[in-house]
Amino acid sequence: MPTHLDNENVLVAEARAGNAESFATLINQYDRHIYRLALNITGNQEDAEDVLQETFLKAYSNLGRFQGDSRFYTWLVRIAVNEALMKLRKRRGASWVSLDEPVETNDRSLTPREIEDWADNPEQSYAKAELQDILNYAVEKMEPQFRTVFMLRDVEEFSTEETAKMLGLSVPAVKSRLLRARLKLRERLNKYFKRGRR
């Protein structure tokens, strides 16, 4: 989750009153976070850019409806998630896997296949950009119903309840997807970070 501006409420009020500079300040604070989220949900750069633009255009048009009962960023993320899911549905068409589709609950599907210890600070084995590529690639390779929940819970650090609300899922469904997402990512990252790899 990004750092929030101290004067965020003032900026939102000014933007609502038509001050374009204040809105630009808000955009600059959050644009890369929204783009990353959109990219990781849609898995497509073109769609992510559309989501980014639509999110800020809609936010600007609907500033009057923002009640201030949540963070401005939370409100932006809600818009972005809706836009990203629409893109995903459109692109995937018949092969779309619904987010609320039940997931396999068989314990066996959770059993880790590779169990090897990692270096103490595995991220230090890679340059920053290389590490980002590895982490992004691992998320991209997951199915949308897992990567969407993971992005909101573990990257954006929304609560289980907030995530459930944003995605129209039950709390147990979010928990179940999060567990699977975490285990899948651990397994995928294993080959990069296991001890003695570098």
Binding site: F150, V155, R182
Partner: protein
């Protein structure tokens, strides 16, 4: 007092809530006890924790310049229409 034997599959099933500190205190203690004796579960818990930490600490890359430019243009168009 409740006393239960935690198996490896219980650790996996409760892993998320354990790492998030949301597990019932007694069950968390049972899990910790299992982890002291089971090296494999210890590794899975530890590497999953590291996985979460790496993503949590990951800063998003700056917006690509052309993406930023097109976003600014789209907003300028919107502002002109509104104005």
């Amino acid at each position: 007092m409740r006393c239960r034997t935690v198996k490896c599959r219980d650790v996996i099933r409760e892993l998320s809530e354990y790492l998030d500190g949301e597990l019932d205190a007694t069950l968390a203690e049972d899990l910790r006890r299992h982890l002291q004796d089971c090296e494999d579960c210890g590794i899975v818990v530890d590497t999953t924790r590291k996985t979460i930490e790496m993503y949590c600490n990951m800063e998003p890359a700056p917006l690509p310049k052309d993406v930023k430019r097109r976003l600014q243009r789209a907003l300028e168009r919107k502002l002109r229409l509104k104005g």
